[in-house]
Symmetry: C2
Subunit: 248 residues, 2 copies
Amino acid sequence: MGVIHCVANQKGGVGKTTTAVSLAAGCALAGLRTLLVDLDPQCNATSALGQAPAARHPLVERTPLRDSVLETKFENLSLLPGSRSFKDVDALAHVDDSQSRQVAEHLMTNVGLFDQIFVDCPPSLGALTQTALTAADDVLMPLQCEYFAMEGLTQMIELIREVIKNSNNRLAFGHIVLTMYECSLELTHEVEREVRDFFGEVVSPTVVPRDVALAEAPSHGETIFSYAPRSRGARAYLELTQEVLGRD
Amino acid sequence: MGVIHCVANQKGGVGKTTTAVSLAAGCALAGLRTLLVDLDPQCNATSALGQAPAARHPLVERTPLRDSVLETKFENLSLLPGSRSFKDVDALAHVDDSQSRQVAEHLMTNVGLFDQIFVDCPPSLGALTQTALTAADDVLMPLQCEYFAMEGLTQMIELIREVIKNSNNRLAFGHIVLTMYECSLELTHEVEREVRDFFGEVVSPTVVPRDVALAEAPSHGETIFSYAPRSRGARAYLELTQEVLGRD
Ligand SMILES: Nc1ncnc2c1ncn2[C@@H]1O[C@H](COP(=O)(O)OP(=O)(O)OP(=O)(O)O)[C@@H](O)[C@H]1O
Ligand SMILES: Nc1ncnc2c1ncn2[C@@H]1O[C@H](COP(=O)(O)OP(=O)(O)OP(=O)(O)O)[C@@H](O)[C@H]1O
Ligand SMILES: [Mg+2]
Ligand SMILES: [Mg+2]
């Protein structure tokens, strides 16, 4: 039975999709059967792996997820595509607690074939993210070293505590991962100091530098490892993959 | 009766809040009575102007909005604060069409005192953004020159067309504004070419460069004009303010 990692943060544009795709690709390279689940109506994780969004979201269809999982051109890496269909997004976004647990169970039971599962979430704390948290074993929070990024974190932590209390007591705090890190900016160091003082061990020692290769890779349908294997972005995500696997 | 501008894009982290705050500040500097409405549960626009989120979201309270509007330290610039209260966010996010129109009317009737109104939206196409579109005269779409940013734009355009057809036929297309523009990156130029080819005149001639001063200003509770008036970010947003005012 695989480990389910939820990659979430309500702040937009902090590197959730880039982190989910890169870690999933890193695990696949390590020879582990890996699944990437796209829960974001933008379907960025789906297109990053060169696939098209599904007409209906597999989690709404109630057919065995196995039938909706797509193989990608990367060995050991499979994808449960997202859907842009507003009907489905709305349905998933308006589930109540008991339905959210049903969807989470649907996710957990059907994906027994994988060693590692990464769920990419939309930039919100609504039902889609809550469903992912309900199904997950740990949660990874990408965080940009900028002022606004700090603001929403406390709300996120509150929600995680609530999910642990009410619907998923095995959910563990994964790591806060500092992304788009620019050593030349004073702001980056200020925010890093504040985050490490406040959250301590929870903040991963590995930081992901700002590296344009990470922004270019998805436009070629490549992962950072197939697009620019010797880039700083690839090295950072390889390190992070080892850290995430080491924790299991 | 003031002009209501909705600043929206479902893609996260593209500069919606930075654009809404900077344009509102630009209009206030030009001597216009300006209101910034924070519809994002993250309340970034509220804290960028040095204020605290409201316990209950003013749009849910049904009291005259005039009573909830806060003065800021910036002359001519007022704020309708956001709220982090999940109950209110949930209530606003689950309104149906007719309620969304009621909230929009509540916004439109109560804000007669202002010349210019900017509404900062969350990174989603849900009810909060739809309510803002229903109340607005035009919509401004900040767009990062990156691959993922292009993806969600067609969905956004579809929603705008739907709002124009069903609930607000005076809504006009404002501009697509290219943000965090980095002339040194090939990716920036590639995306710009594609966007201008596809959207033509709708794309503003003014681009906002990546400028760390824009990320630093909110941590001091300042606008870009009070924090770094001679910065490239300030010049770009001054130009954009004149463009938005020129259009009315
Ligand atoms: N370390 C990095 N260096 C440079 N660019 C990056 C990095 N990480 C992500 N990006 C780029 O920044 C943008 C935002 O990243 P991404 O889309 O992964 O964030 P997100 O949190 O998933 O956004 P959303 O909130 O919209 O889901 C993308 O264009 C991506 O390619
Ligand atoms: N032109 C710019 N140059 C440098 N940094 C910028 C620029 N515009 C915005 N930023 C910074 O980038 C981050 C994202 O911007 P912002 O929060 O305004 O985007 P947003 O679209 O409102 O995000 P969300 O989707 O979470 O609401 C912020 O930390 C902001 O300070
Ligand atoms: Mg994403
Ligand atoms: Mg914002």
